[in-house]
Amino acid sequence: MELTREEEKSLNGEHGESLQTAYRILSAVGEATDAERLVPIHWAHVSGVNYNTIGDAGEEFLANLSKNAKFKVLTTVNPMGYDKDSVEKFGLDENFIQKQESIRKSYTKMGMTASFSCIPYEIYDLPREDTQVSFAESNAAIYANSIGHLKTNKESAFSALASAITGKSPYSDLRKDDSPNMSISMKVQDPNELTFGLLGYFAGKVADKSVAISGVKNLDKRCNKSLCASMGTSGSCGKFVLDDNSNASEKVDFDEKEMQNVFDELNTADSGDLITLGSPQLGLEEMTDLAAMLKGRSFKKRCLIFCPRAIQEQARSLGYAGQLESAGCELLSDCCTCLTPLVTKKDVDSVTTNSIKGAYYFKNSNGLDVNLKPLSEIVSDETS
């Protein structure tokens, strides 16, 4: 990758340690992805905010970096470990809270916009078509490329952080226009959001950078988010296009059999001790939709709903938050299902959810069994 003279100076440390670190990251990423140069980006969304995922080494790294690094562009951040309003209900230890607060402080010092959300695309107005951004959260990167008409690599926590500090990113992969070389034919009838989650997980495994999907028309928000999140979990694919006439060289089917295989990999229980909705966090549309589905009904088990702070406030002023709470839901903001420290083996053995991404991390990181169901079935089975 070619650097300008100024970029070269930064890489050599002439503009301080934090810029040098950032350019070292961008250079490695540029080499790995065959980028020829860096391009300006206009919005960074960084991951690596939850103490549960980045640990002590991450917390110390950020504390050190924030001594002199400043974000150069709008920088939104992923969820952290808990919602301050309800943290005392979950029995987290002092050390966790202290380290989490240190991480928050470091990002504040560098100039973050305190979104604590994995769905920045539902909180902020999207810039005009084809704007270059750097989104680390995988569901948000795939959403930006596939639905938001923006351009981003499927960034890592560090590459997006380096973009936030420099305002630049390697011009590689998905920043250019290229057509997918793999096409998946969706054959499953009457799909719901869980079906699209299973399809996304399958697609992430078989596709490389981008994928075409045929046989699908007009997805609603819930299905779109489910597809983006699961695709980001299982692979490195960062974009999908709905296209019945793709000229991709490789074509595969996604039928009942393929769907069942993915389902059997992730579903390990017939029921859950607790219900979680989110990963990605719920947007306003999903909250109002759920409030309508729950009219006159109430959950028989604990049900945690993860949503951004800004969305919870809107839902509260419109009356939907109250309706959800009356139906037995607990609303949690600034955090999400994915690698949550709030749901552990100490309290439950299994979780019911409609999130494929949530299921993957509950299983692998929290060591819990998972019962997968679409939202409609969760409501019909778990409420009365």
Binding site: A28, T33, A157, S159, A160, Y360
Partner: protein, 120 residues
């Protein structure tokens, strides 16, 4: 034998080879360097002081912090080598200063688990 150097370094060591991609978040214990995903072909093994060879990284963007953490916790591999390098592995190794290589396809296929090799 290397097609491309992503993060520089010279190493000699024993190969730990996986046929499956790795999602560093959720697959590796950042304190011990052990593979904790029961469905992974390296389940139960530790990546510490190995030359870790795997097709490519997948999944979470936060896996880059896991790579940085295993280095800080002294349980990192001596180097990593892949068929293709995704942004998570590239940026994690760059920050942690773990040598990282893309191998020629023939070489990648030839190297076996347990081989003693030198890279860089």
């Amino acid at each position: 034998m290397t097609q491309k150097i992503i993060v520089q370094g010279k190493v000699t060591g024993k190969v730990l080879k996986s046929n499956q991609p790795i999602n560093f978040l959720g697959t590796i214990d950042k304190k011990t360097g052990e593979i904790i995903d029961k469905k992974h072909d390296l389940y139960g093994k530790t990546i510490k002081d190995s030359i870790l060879i795997f097709p490519n990284g997948i999944g979470s963007s936060v896996g880059a912090y896991t790579i940085y953490s295993i280095k800080s916790n002294n349980v990192s591999p001596l180097a990593m080598a892949c068929q293709k390098v995704d942004l998570t592995v590239a940026s994690g190794c760059a920050l942690a200063n773990i040598p990282l290589f893309i191998l020629e396809p023939d070489e990648y296929d030839k190297i076996k688990d347990g081989d003693e090799i030198s890279l860089g």
